[in-house]
């Protein structure tokens, strides 16, 4: 029974990890860019939510209405003004520029907000629980976050495979030059992809802020969790990324249960095992 709770907690947090990963996966799929600042942008969104809730006096979930569009706009501008220039065959420029960005965001937040831990208050929903089965209680908030995470991934899947925008993403990813012949401006398509990715980052950031304490230095670990979820699940598959997130969450929960210091290490070990035994991931989509 105790183990059921552990696994359940792992699954619920895994949804959050899957959301970290989905944004990362989208960007890599469309433009072969790994955004090292991805985790720091999640933290940035959390701080944005903090500022929004404090100055406007609204709740965190309402704050989403502001934070999501703002982050999407930041994403569009970032891609258009900075990251589009780094794209090309050489992998050093995008890697180094996003690394530089990561350092800038972390230290910028440090200057503005200090290293103090922060947390968003969501009120009564934070402690409410719901009984699932006899003896198994699950927090309402984690459940809601999990449901939203699954919904976000389903929405992304829908956008990608059933809308003209998604077609544009996939075509540009396949062959950017021929996509131009279809009237698609690559710079705009890439910027839209980044905007979408950061919209998801915004949701993830707000959830992170409500769920646990956060501070400017947490970016890299969010990036790493997202990255591990992508690799465990398999490149190219969004549902695979969800599975990867769940597995990571469960691994961490099991580790934490054995010993608190082992939580994150257990996740890393799960990742390394998958890397050693099945490097293509558990549910890879074979791309032509």
């Amino acid at each position: 029974m105790e183990w059921v709770n552990v696994i359940l907690q792992g699954v619920l947090v895994g949804g959050l990890y899957a959301m970290f990963a989905a944004g990362l996966s989208l960007i890599f799929g469309v433009m072969r860019l790994v955004n090292i600042a991805h985790g720091d942008l999640i933290v940035l969104a959390a701080y944005l939510a903090l500022v929004t809730t404090e100055t406007l006096g609204i709740g965190p979930l309402t704050a989403l209405v502001i934070v999501v569009p703002v982050m999407a706009l930041i994403g569009y501008a970032l891609q258009r003004l900075v990251l589009n220039r780094t794209l090309g065959d050489d992998l050093l420029p995008p890697l180094l520029v996003t690394f530089g960005l990561s350092v800038i965001i972390q230290n910028g937040l440090l200057e503005l907000f200090t290293a103090d831990s922060q947390k968003l208050q969501a009120g009564a929903i934070e402690v409410a629980t719901v009984p699932l089965a006899s003896g198994v209680y699950v927090g309402v908030l984690p459940l809601v976050q999990f449901a939203v995470a699954v919904a976000v991934i389903a929405a992304l899947q829908f956008i990608f495979y059933r809308t003209p925008l998604g077609r544009a993403f996939r075509a540009t990813a396949d062959d950017a030059q021929v996509a131009q012949l279809m009237g698609l401006d690559n710079r705009h398509v890439f910027a839209l992809a980044m905007a979408l990715s950061l919209a998801m980052v915004a949701i993830a950031g707000v959830f992170l802020a409500v769920r646990a304490n956060f501070d400017p230095s947490q970016g890299p670990s969010r990036l790493i969790f997202g990255f591990e979820a992508v690799i465990i699940g398999g490149l190219g598959s969004l549902w695979g990324t969800l599975a990867g997130g769940l597995i990571l969450g469960v691994a961490q929960a099991i580790g934490a249960h054995l010993s608190p210091g082992w939580q994150i290490l257990a996740g890393h070990i799960a990742f390394l095992i998958i890397l050693a035994v099945r490097p293509e991931g558990l549910f890879p989509k074979v791309r032509a």
Binding site: V34, I36, G100, I104, N107, E111, G261
Partner: protein, 340 residues
């Protein structure tokens, strides 16, 4: 027909002469520099060595690692472990730390080489995190808060503090000279030619019979060897080690990458230029704290966007200089030339 391969040219002869003079002057530093200056100089040497090694890995072998702090920390911890638990003299522990880390690098490489490009980079970061987390669990070496070098061990290096400072300084200078010299020799060898080929076009290199995998493997392990020794030295000098300090991404990767990028990636002179610029900036801007790192990040981004070859890259394009004799020239003998 007789051909010879000749390395270098006029500028590299001048450059090498200047380097030799510089090294001689620096070797005598304990006699003309104060304690703080010696400390600063050894820091400069350590960063120069780390940047040169990272440059070899990323700029020449194309392995962009964001996780070299794994070996800095590993080297440091091995030194402390050997000194505290086995009573090994720290001076011997430095090369031993290097060898041990090179050995660890082998299974790490086997794992992490399964990833390519950006994913490889993050994979190396994860490995460094794993090392850090494991180090925090080892209570014999202080766990999460780390441990200090016992007095007996410190005194074992040399009886007086001044002599200790001098010895550590000379080790630092010796290490950086040895590392840069080794890198130059490597690049002059056929492995160096292979690396150049791999950097230009991996596919073409494979088709020409170059064992790309083995070459990259070799470079990765050699870099781990050098990085670990420097890590051991750095923390020997600090007399204290802790997981967060030893495996710090900012100190051992962010700074190193910025130095190499700003100085010029893919050329040996780059890290030297970059280290000088970095320390000059640091001395002038050190009061700004987090803002300093922020500016460094911004400068690195600007350099990458505007002048991706770095400062030395611009110099090379403009003047064609090289300090280290690495450019190969094919020289035909007189008879062959006459026949044309």
């Amino acid at each position: 027909m007789n051909v010879r391969i000749v390395f270098g040219g006029a500028s590299s002869r001048i450059g090498m002469a200047l380097c030799a003079c510089a090294v001689a002057v620096l070797a005598a530093a304990p006699f003309w520099a104060g304690r703080d200056d010696l400390f600063l100089l050894s820091q400069i040497y350590c960063y120069l060595a780390l940047a040169s090694l990272w440059n070899l890995l990323a700029g020449y072998a194309g392995l962009v690692s964001v996780g070299q702090q794994a070996y800095v920390g590993l080297g440091a911890y091995v030194l402390f472990a050997l000194a505290i638990l086995a009573g090994v003299s720290p001076l011997w522990a430095i090369p031993l730390a290097g060898v041990f880390s090179a050995a660890i690098a082998i299974p790490v490489a086997l794992l992490v080489f399964r990833l390519r490009g950006h994913y490889f980079a993050i994979g190396t970061w994860i490995v460094a995190e794993v090392f850090r987390l494991i180090a925090s669990q080892v209570s014999m070496l202080g766990g999460g808060s780390g441990t200090s070098l016992p007095a007996a061990v410190i005194v074992g290096i040399a009886p007086s503090r001044q002599l200790r400072d001098f010895i550590i300084y000379w080790i630092a200078l010796g290490l950086v000279v040895a590392i840069v010299a080794l890198i130059v020799l490597l690049l002059r060898s056929r492995y160096g030619l292979a690396l150049k080929a791999i950097r230009d076009s991996e596919l073409a290199a494979i088709c020409n019979g170059i064992d790309v995998k083995r070459t990259k493997f070799l470079v990765y392990c050699l870099t781990a060897f050098g990085t670990a020794m420097i890590g051991a030295l750095i923390f020997l000098q600090r007399l204290r080690v802790s997981p967060d300090a030893a495996f710090s991404v900012n100190d051992w990767t962010a700074f190193v990458i910025f130095i190499t990028v700003i100085g010029g990636i893919g050329r040996i002179e780059g890290p030297i230029v970059g280290t000088v610029v970095f320390f000059a900036l640091r001395q002038t801007l050190s009061d700004f704290g987090a803002l300093y790192l922020l500016m460094l990040g911004a400068v690195a981004i600007l350099v990458m966007l505007i002048a991706p070859k770095g400062i030395w890259g611009l110099v090379v394009e403009r003047f064609g200089w090289q300090v280290f004799p690495l450019e190969r020239k094919v020289v035909l003998d007189a008879a062959t030339v006459a026949r044309e």
